[in-house]
């Protein structure tokens, strides 16, 4: 019985894939006909050689730092907000608090970063501030949900022991609960940071600062050589953050 259901599920997935291809009317002829291939080759050739002039590199350096700061601060802010919402979402303030917090977390999470960024550009004006807020809002939803799960899975006895010796709620949380979940929270934060550096580098597309804005402008002006350097910088930034977070994970999570 379970087997048939599984096969039915697999068939359904295959059908969904086929329907997707058919429904979209995908046109891959652009990838095969010689004329469009040569057009694409011309376009691609424009990316080489990349522009390594000093002025351009200086601008990229600043934009990279901006992107890095956006991703790091956005994640940090999200972790704070996420933890604040995770406490009620883990059921520590009654059923109503739990339902409300979960609804809010789902709402924050369901709106993609770029849409948040477009909204924040309206609310806070152009620039990296909007990008940071956008990352923080979406990530708070994701992290809040993960944090709430971690809080629910952590043993309650250490905090209970503190309360039995007269400690208050806050003391019991920071002495009994936090040491148990701390590594898990750090692991989730690092994972989101790796995600957010990718996102931060494109938020500029809607005017939220950083490398994305440079890329969008140079591609719109058909300056592929400049765009190529920006893409290289994004690649580098992602690798740097992956390495940094891998090191931090070694140091504070696995150890």
């Amino acid at each position: 019985m379970k087997r048939t259901l599984n096969y039915a599920l697999l068939v359904a997935i295959l059908l969904a894939v086929v329907a997707s291809f058919a429904g979209l009317g995908l046109d891959f002829s652009g990838l095969t006909s010689t004329r469009s291939l040569s057009l694409m080759a011309d376009y691609a050739a424009g990316f080489f050689p990349a522009d390594f002039s000093a002025a351009h590199l200086a601008a990229i350096g600043r934009a990279s730092l901006e992107t890095l700061a956006m991703s790091a601060l956005g994640t940090l802010l999200a972790a704070l907000l996420g933890l604040l919402l995770a406490l009620p979402a883990a059921g520590r303030f009654g059923r109503i608090g739990m339902a409300l917090a979960r609804l809010l977390l789902n709402a924050l999470r369901s709106i993609p970063e770029l849409v948040w960024a477009a909204l924040m550009v309206l609310a806070a004006g152009l620039g990296p501030n909007a990008g940071t807020l956008a990352l923080a809002l979406h990530t708070a939803g994701v992290l809040g949900r993960l944090f709430a799960e971690a809080l629910e899975n952590t043993p309650a006895e250490p905090a209970e022991a503190i309360r039995l010796s007269g400690g208050g709620r806050i003391a019991a949380f920071v002495y009994g609960t936090l040491p148990g979940v701390w590594p898990q929270l750090i692991a989730y934060m690092l994972y989101r940071w790796e995600n957010n550096i990718r996102m931060a580098s494109v938020l500029g597309f809607v005017g939220a600062g950083g490398l994305g804005q440079m890329l969008y402008v140079s591609l719109s002006l058909f300056q592929q050589a400049q765009a190529a350097t920006v893409i290289l910088a994004m690649l580098l930034l992602v690798l740097v953050v992956d390495a940094l977070s891998g090191w931090a994970r070694q140091r504070w999570v696995s150890h």
Binding site: P158, E160, L164, G166, G168, Y175, Y191, S254
Partner: protein, 268 residues
């Protein structure tokens, strides 16, 4: 009067009667051991006295007040005067021993002091002295997950020594130690109680330890008090009746070590 139980009963949510008609009066400065077969209700009795559980019937008086008649703020202040030693001390694995011991006085410290102490231990000498009495001062700055079961139990005792409560409740405090160390550790506890004139209640599964260290013995069986005698008056027949049908070789009910905490690392 330190403790007075009048007709106390405890029924668990699943309908099992853990304790029935318990009458017990302990005056200040007394030291008594609770013995009995496993499952007799020793732990439930201690958890009632630690205000971890609320009795389902009867009257419970601790240090001259009825804890469940108090406001929650007053109960919190009362709890700061009670010290409970757990059989397997619930210490977060990554917490350092010094923090775990200093946490004993969280009930007496204002909140800011507790928070500051988390960043920088405010009284490492006090924690060191408490640990030194149990011969593990060298573990002061180690993490709790690097200690053995017996060492963890001693850290749990050191926390209560540091707390300086007026009523010490100990639930199988030496179950994970070898006999010599167990005897020495109980000696430290009784000496502390004697020196400060505070009340000490300990549940023990080793009858000889109870008889050697405590002047008063309470036998518990099937949720009722079987006998309550000075230790020199406890007869072999009374013990035999207490432990009748109990497997003598039954291992001590030491709870299994908690499963190692696994951190989920999401793949990106």
């Amino acid at each position: 009067m330190s403790i007075r139980l009048t007709g106390v009963g405890m029924t668990h949510a699943n309908g099992r009667h853990a304790l029935q008609d318990v009458e017990l009066t302990v005056s200040r400065g007394e030291r008594l051991a609770i013995i009995g077969p496993s499952g007799a209700g020793k732990t439930t009795l201690l958890r009632l006295l630690a205000t971890s559980l609320q009795p389902s019937e009867g009257r419970l008086e601790l240090l001259g007040t009825e804890p469940w008649q108090l406001s929650s703020g007053a109960r919190k202040r009362l709890r700061a005067r009670l010290g409970l030693i757990h059989q397997s001390p619930p210490l977060p694995p990554r917490q350092r021993v010094v923090t775990a011991v200093l946490a004993g006085r969280l009930g007496q410290w204002p909140l800011w002091k507790g928070l500051l102490n988390l960043l920088y231990p405010l009284d490492p000498a006090g924690a060191r002295d408490a640990l030194a009495r149990l011969d593990i001062a060298d573990k002061l700055f180690e993490r709790c997950d690097q200690l053995s079961g017996g060492q963890l139990q001693r850290v749990g005792i050191a926390r209560v020594l540091y707390q300086r409560p007026e009523l010490i409740l100990a639930d199988e405090p030496v179950s994970a130690m070898d006999p010599v160390l167990a005897s020495h550790t109980l000696g430290v506890l009784t000496a502390e109680a004697e020196a400060r004139g505070v009340t000490l209640l300990a549940s023990l599964h080793a009858v000889d330890l109870a008889l050697n260290h405590f002047p008063r013995i309470v036998g518990v069986r099937d949720g009722r008090i079987a006998f309550d005698l000075p230790s020199h008056a406890v007869s072999a027949e009374a013990l035999e009746a207490l432990y009748a049908n109990e497997q003598l070789a039954a291992p001590s009910p030491a709870s299994p070590p908690p499963a190692p905490h696994v951190v989920a690392i999401p793949r990106c």
